[in-house]
């Protein structure tokens, strides 16, 4: 069940990334391709088999997980800037690229690196599951590490939430509004993932559901906009003339 979700998400991200290649070659919105590519890579690194392969190559001390965190940070940053620009969310754009955003990014990065260095990270393990089983201290550090890693994505998406809700209530095309709704849903999922540490182990599968649906929501939301544009360019231009 969880494996289906993981590989399914990877497939969706991969297909969307490949579909962006023609636009990339035409030079349209290159950073959007970067967002999709980084998300695909992030999903790849969160699945057991690919993670183990990559991490073994990097020395088997879970450097791959640290890389994964920064891939997510980079992807979410580009995404935030793009979405804020597109939806004319000047407040969100200032928050993300201004001093506050840089401070949050720096703090989250520092926290992730520091916690990583204090952990006993020997032995590749996707999601650092095996590490938290080592001893209580490591288990606590893994939780802190995860929380620090989720902080920045949550900050970016929450900054975008007001703009998404504004768009939802506007008179823009249905597909654009649906995309805003899906993106807002992704925000909720990312914010919920901050609660991961308090989810009881018996409901551990919820962590996966929340994490992967967050990524799926972001990718689907962006794809919807793209679809809307393609459809609109194809359809004959309808003008609300002076009747």
């Amino acid at each position: 069940m969880i494996a289906t979700l993981q590989w399914g998400t990877l497939a969706v991200c991969g297909v969307v990334t490949l579909a962006r290649v023609p636009s990339l070659l035409r030079g349209e919105n290159r950073s959007l391709f970067a967002v999709f590519a980084l998300m695909t890579l992030a999903i790849l690194l969160s699945i057991d088999a690919p993670y183990l392969a990559v991490d073994q190559a990097l020395g088997g001390v879970n450097i791959a997980n640290l890389v994964l965190r920064f891939i997510i940070f980079a992807g979410i940053f580009f995404l935030g800037v793009r979405v804020a620009r597109g939806f004319s969310a000047d407040d969100a754009l200032r928050l993300i690229t201004g001093p506050v955003g840089i401070a949050v990014a720096a703090a989250a990065s520092a926290a992730v690196v520091l916690v990583f260095l204090t952990m006993d990270t020997a032995g590749s393990s996707a999601g650092l599951v095996a590490l938290s089983a080592k001893d209580d201290r490591n288990a606590a550090l893994v939780e802190y590490y995860g929380a620090a890693g989720r902080l920045y994505p949550a900050f970016i998406t929450v900054a975008l939430l007001p703009a998404m809700l504004r768009t939802l209530r506007s008179g823009l095309p249905v597909l654009v509004r649906s995309s805003a709704a899906v993106l807002a849903l992704g925000t909720v999922a990312i914010s919920l993932s901050l609660l991961s540490p308090v989810i009881p182990p018996s409901l551990g599968f919820l962590r996966f559901v929340v994490n992967y649906s967050a990524v799926l929501c972001l990718v689907l939301g962006l794809s919807l906009i793209w679809l809307a544009k393609t459809l609109a360019k194809r359809a004959t231009k309808k003008q609300a003339g002076m009747t």
Binding site: R82, L172, W226, T243
Partner: protein, 248 residues
């Protein structure tokens, strides 16, 4: 509220005893699936009844009145007020009337209702519902309709903005304003001016009866509303373009 399916079927059996559902759909141009769905849900749209009545050469107004909650339509129709008639003149026809009354130097004929002016377009027009409500509104109308029907004022306004109004609300609005029931049904496009027994030329006569001052003020209001709508549309268009430019 749409018509109850049971009453509708009784009516159908009365007006077309020998016709099958397929025949009815064919002559009235209603999709079979649409009618079937309405019957299954137990609620038949008034437009369905109107289409069938037209196809059977019956008066849509009279047939609508044969249903319990439209019984008040059976009374001899109260004719529309001049303000209601003028509200059903399309904005561009109003502007044409302004030009037509201007001096020949500006392309007009300098008189009222010149025979040279092209005939008015049939109701409804692009903003006919809101214009109709504005024409009969004494300032408290929306509150009274809301109180009488339980429809929230913002939902009512949303319908007006979309140039829509359910037949039930159109009748309730007319009742609350104390005007004839046909105005709203024509403004919403449910029935034509002919079917509402409006005198041919009544709209033109009401328009001609406006003084130059009244006509200019009305045309100004309409233009302002049109400008607002177009500007909002342009802004939304620009916003959409921006989203596509950045995220498409």
């Amino acid at each position: 509220m749409p018509l109850p399916a049971k009453a509708f079927q009784l009516w159908l059996h009365r007006v077309a005893p020998s016709a099958s559902t397929a025949d009815i759909c064919r002559i009235s141009g209603i999709k079979r699936t649409t009618l079937a769905q309405q019957l299954v849900r137990g609620k038949v749209a008034e437009t369905t009844l109107v289409s069938i009545s037209r196809a059977l050469d019956l008066s849509p107004l009279a047939e609508l009145a044969s249903f319990d909650h439209y019984a008040e339509l059976a009374a001899p129709p109260q004719p529309p007020t001049p303000a209601e008639l003028v509200s059903q003149v399309a904005t561009m026809d109003l502007l044409r009337a302004v030009i037509s009354r201007s001096s020949p130097a500006y392309g007009g004929y300098g008189d009222h209702g010149s025979s040279m002016t092209p005939a008015l377009g049939p109701a409804p027009h692009a903003t006919s519902v809101r214009n109709w409500v504005d024409a009969i509104d004494d300032g408290e109308l929306r509150h009274r309709v809301s109180a009488a029907t339980g429809v929230a004022p913002q939902n009512y306004s949303a319908q007006l903005t979309a140039n829509r109004l359910s037949p039930e609300l159109a009748v309730a609005t007319a009742r609350a304003a104390g005007v004839g029931f046909t105005g709203g049904l024509v403004a919403t496009g449910l029935i034509t001016e002919d079917e509402a027994s409006w005198t041919p030329g009544a709209k033109q006569a009401a328009l001609d009866a406006l003084s130059d001052g009244e006509l200019s003020a009305l045309a100004g209001e309409r233009l302002q509303a049109l400008g607002k709508t177009l500007r909002r549309h342009e802004q939304e268009q620009a916003q959409t373009e921006k989203i596509w430019e950045n995220l498409g």
